[in-house]
Amino acid sequence: MSTQPLKTMRDAIIPAVTARMRADSSIYFLTADLGAPSLDQLRLDFPDRFINVGIAEQNLINVGAGLALEGCRVFLFGIAPFVSMRCFEQVRNNLSLLSQTRPVNVNILSVGAGFSYEVSGPTHHALEDLALMRTLPNLELFSPSDSVMAGAFVSYALSHQTPKYWRLDGKPLPVIYPAGHSFDFHKGFEILQRGDRVGLVSTGCLTHGALELCQSIPEWRDRVGLIDLFMLQPMDEAALQEQLCGYTHIVTLEEGFVGKGGLDSLVNRLVIQARHTATVDSLGIPPHYLFEAGSRAFLRQACGMDPAAIHRTVEQYL
């Protein structure tokens, strides 16, 4: 995997959106003053439908909602903590709530999941967005693990008239899925490895580390499963529950606060609803901000969610 070229999720998404904009004049791309090299072509080609609303996340959402009410399909581009938290009530009222009465196809491309912006300090860490967006009815919450999946979601997004939050990693990552892979966005997860004892449930970039462990430790084969959960809402809960029930030990992995409504809460609930008696260990970020300006690996280690910690957690059940 490490020999593949690395790619950011946005660099898969933006060219796909640009291509669709050529054929479809109803597609708009708005940014709150965030750029990307792959955005240059789009800006150039569609000066009328590329709009920089300024550093104004609240208005980014509101203008996007207004465009959507006129039948436009809208992409909003911004930095994760700001497009999730600075404008939360706008997302709630003018996307999630409004879409219960009128179609609203607005896609928040939220760049910088977890510690993506590792050296910018705690204001730039996005540790709450999974939990926040999960509170919003009618909103689809997408948390891809690689650029192939992120790019594939463009088509789905354009044809589903719903508000969506795309939790995108900010860093270039290897790909997990082959080009052209067909994802089931209704089901919402992929099984990357099957096992009969410990089930890892991961979302976003952490799937890479988990997969590497699974592939490199022969003893894990057939014993440790890995589920890449990319739709946190909606998804096929029954199907996921069935998978979870195949394990006696479950370990959740998320680059977000742990025990606070994110992936782990989702899994806990499914386990409890199924009256399943598996243990559930939740790896994630303890409730504390990190001021340290270290690398992402350093920050993860500080939180007890580095590969060694995952390894330790799994091994105790083998």
Binding site: A56, N62, A65
Partner: protein
């Protein structure tokens, strides 16, 4: 079951809307049913509009009598604005096609203070007038604060400071598709304290949204006090101008003047978004409410409603 309720509402909203004049409920008898939409060409006589405004005020008070949770003082100050728009041949609308592309979009950002729109929407045919009698009950889509489940309302209301930004998006889309219709926003003066409003005020001139008209219900009172005792808004015209808006003022209770200003501004397309500062009185027409700094929260008793209705005529 929650789901079902809302689905029912949607059914109602999209399919089973009744037409005006179809009402025979005796409790509704005093509601003017002879409403004829003023014909396209002519400008309405001022006296006709004044009469309408009086009627709207009366019906609004009656609805408040039915649903005391409605914000009566806030709803009385924009009566002449709504009247001029709906009865003055200004706003293009078609109750049979609430989302017709050629309609003018009216976004009621001060949702809490727009119950006076309920009788108008019923009168012009968006829904059955019987519905008014159920305002604020579980069976009705007419809540204390209007929502887009009500035919004729475009957006989610209730939280202040959202309407103008959404309207910017609507106006932008219409500019791009060459749709000549107007986008109007009704906003409260206290709402100007919300920073989100200023984000939208910055954006609109940049994109030359001259199809956008902001109508400010400038009644000088927010919830807890006079605006001037919270934070002075003046020199407000200077603020709008410095932000690149074309700004005009009007006596918001002189329905003829309001009509003339709206008529002029809706037509005006010279590259700038437009704001009409309508000087109004919160609780207009009800002496118990006018000039009371706390009128926002006041609920009139049945007897007070009776009295107020009598005093109007």
């Amino acid at each position: 079951m929650v789901c079902l309720l809302s689905t029912n509402m949607k059914d109602f909203l999209f399919n089973s809307r009744s037409r005006p004049g179809s009402v025979g409920n005796p409790q509704c008898e005093e509601i003017v049913t002879d409403c004829v939409l003023i014909n396209e060409a002519g400008s309405p006589a001022g006296s006709r509009l004044e009469e309408k405004a009086r009627w709207v005020r009366r019906e609004t008070l009656r609805i408040h009598g039915i649903a005391p949770s409605t914000r009566i003082a806030s709803s009385l100050s924009p009566v002449e604005i709504f009247t001029a728009l709906y009865y003055g041949n200004l706003l293009r609308f078609d109750p049979a096609k609430p989302y017709a592309p050629e309609r003018d979009r009216l976004i009621v950002s001060k949702g809490h203070g727009s119950v006076s729109l309920y009788p108008i929407l019923a009168d012009v045919g968006y829904f059955d007038k019987k519905e008014l009698l159920r305002t604020g009950t579980a069976e009705s889509f007419l809540g204390g604060i209007p929502d887009p489940v009500i035919p004729g309302f475009e957006t989610v209301n209730g939280s202040l400071g959202h309407g103008l930004g959404v309207a910017c998006g609507v106006a932008l889309a219409m500019k791009r598709t060459g749709n000549p219709a107007n986008v109007l926003v009704l906003m409260g003066d206290g709402e100007l304290y919300e920073g989100s409003v200023w984000e939208a005020l910055m954006l609109a001139p940049e994109h030359k949204l001259d199809n956008l008209l902001l109508i400010l219900d400038y009644n000088k009172i927010a919830m807890l006090d006079y605006c001037a005792k919270i934070i002075h808004l003046e020199p407000l015209g200077d603020k709008f101008k410095a932000f690149g808006w074309f700004c005009e003022e009007v006596d918001g209770h002189d329905v003829k003047a309001v009509h003339a200003s709206l008529h002029k501004l809706m037509k005006q397309r010279n590259g700038s978004p437009k704001v009409l500062m309508a000087h109004t009185v919160k609780g207009k027409g009800v002496s118990l409410l006018e000039n009371d700094s706390l009128c926002h929260l006041r609920t009139l008793s049945a007897a007070e409603v009776q009295l107020a209705v009598g005093a109007l005529a």
